[in-house]
Amino acid sequence: MNKKSLESPYKIFLLAQPNSGKTTLFNTLTGKRCYVANWPGKTVEVFHGEITHHGKKILIVDLPGINSFKTLGKEEELTKEIIFGKEGVVVLLINGESLYRSLYFAIQVLEVRSNVLVVINKSDFLESRGIHINLKAFSEKLNVDVIQISALKGIGVNQLIDRALDLLEGRKRTEKLKIDYGILESYIEEIESLIHDRGLAVKLLEGDEYVLKMFEDKKEAIEKIKKEIEAKYSNAEEIIAMQRHKFVSDIIKSSVREVKVSRNEFEERLDSIFFSRFGFIPAILLLLGTIALAFTINTGFPFNLIFSALGLEGISEKLEKYSLAGLISLIIENSSDMLKSYIPDSWWGSLITDGIIAGLGVILTFFPIIVVVNFLMSILEDSGLMARIAVSLNKFFSMFGLTGKSVFPFGISLACNVPGVMASRILETDAERIKVALSSPFVICQARLLVIVLFAAAFLSSPLVQSLIVTSMYLLSTILFLSISKLYGKITREEVSELLLELPPYHFPSMKVSWWITWERSKSFITKISGFLLLFAVLIWALDYFALAEPIGSFIAKIFKPMGLDDWTLGFSLIVGFFAKELIIESLAIVHGTSDISKISEVLNLNLPQTVALLVFVAFYTPCAATLFAIFSEVRNKKLVTAAIILQILIAYAISFLFFVVIDAGTKII
């Protein structure tokens, strides 16, 4: 929150690979008293919280998780700074679900860092599998204190703070870990004599870029030694990795005992289905089911259309009315009407009611919708199902140069492109991250779904045609997302991304963890995007207030003359749609002076080809302002993003025109 609280004398840094339960531990330790802060001198957001233990104030810092020592973004850079630094105590979490891989990472930290407490998490999982760890043997091998906890159940957490305090107050000291590197020993000693640190000497031999930067002046001497090793044996990095693996295997062999056979029949059977040739079928069903459920809770679609096609109009209407979007818009309308009656009729009154409150309304409408989708997705993720979905869809995605992991940001984008773009971070290579972030806006989000469904309902009479059109829009959206990302791959000439993914064991999703993940992902919408949205709301208000809507609207409408969509109100609403797509309907309502969509449709009087052309354009033209902002902050390449936006508008226009021509010709023949 503020810099002062970051200067506590007692600091505990939580360090772990992703999925180790680090966030769970952080939340268990700090309760709700945590803040996001920009780390001093950095622009990276780091969670931290203060706790009082035995009368001492301790600062807990949640370091961005890293998978390995390969530096990626600048968030990971901070983690490395702490690992290679001397500040505070590092609590190094080991994932009980994958001891081997966690340990391989952990020993590398222990080699370069003193004052580390090793904590084996998910003890409840280990217990359920009958796995016993001899903590004493473990601790002797690693040369540090080792404790076992369950962050989720809060078991062992007090002991963790006690032990960390021992280290912080100097009652205990830990030495760095020494691993025997066999034939490399003499070379390591040689480098050590140059830089006076064994751990860093090993990292230099490995070619760690972060450490190499620390010893720029010794570069030549080190290169020489590396060449010597390569000439005599083989790649130094390979030898080091093998010795480390040997070290880890030894620890596991000597201190981990599996009492009962832990193979779970059901899980194995489930996996054999997912990994088979037909694994994509349950994967797609699961994904679509989850998304359909989220959509229905949020907007009533698609079940409202299904019920109305079956002739059950009553149920269909109730679904829409009691969907989240329906309820929230009801609340906002009522309260803004109430406010309007209190605020005098003046320019600032109009600014507050039509600008600021309208803007807040957008934020309020969208936040719960994003929360619902993120929650359902986090359940898929936490249960281990998401990783299986990624694997079984990998073959399909690989046809477009992506890995199956891309299904995750894609799925979130169906809810809202903003968190979808942010979720592209989970992808392993930069190339894939950029491709997915840039093509995400082709995925139809719920805001656009609302507009499409409303338009379809107003302009098309038969529910069958409505559902058909909405469904084909989604199909088109998927095709566009995949082929455009393939196109970006071709343009940037990046190599194809390949899947390499660890599959976590299945477990029943914890509501607590799912909620934390959900909150973590959703709140960025409020913190990062909402200010931006508010600013835009005021801007649009100004356009309307100063009577600029009609001239701008007619200018835009000229562009759509070939499709017969040259009504200035439509043109203006498309501009507003850039701010937030669901406002297309609202702005039409404002300029037409009625919120009855059927009256607006009477005035506009669009035929089938015109309606489809409009729907297609609305679905695919520029990403909304918030998404644009999110893409900028992920990709960080102004030229590339600008080019991508222009390309998207052109594609949307071209497809819209194409649909108009084809359907127009088709209807004339019939």
Partner: protein, 77 residues
């Protein structure tokens, strides 16, 4: 040549043909020469078991991992 892509059952990794980036990713996952791996399936993608963890790899990566199939142990009657 036997690679992870076209072998079955228990295998031992003999070598990895690939760039530095891929090598590191695989090493971090625990896939390195002399490591023993169990191939669960290799179509449509490769899934292997390595100690207590399961790892999925694309066939493209699996092709670059040279292995030797371990002799099948006689099961006790």
């Amino acid at each position: 040549m036997k690679t992870l892509e076209n072998s079955e059952g228990r295998v031992t990794v003999k070598g990895i043909v690939g760039g530095k980036g891929l090598l590191r990713r695989l090493f971090d996952m625990g896939i390195y020469p002399s490591q023993k791996i169990e191939v669960l399936t290799n179509r449509p993608q490769v899934v292997v078991k390595l100690g207590d963890t399961k790892i999925a790899l694309s066939r493209g990566i699996a092709k670059k991992i040279v292995v030797e199939e371990d002799p099948v142990e006689q099961e006790e009657p």
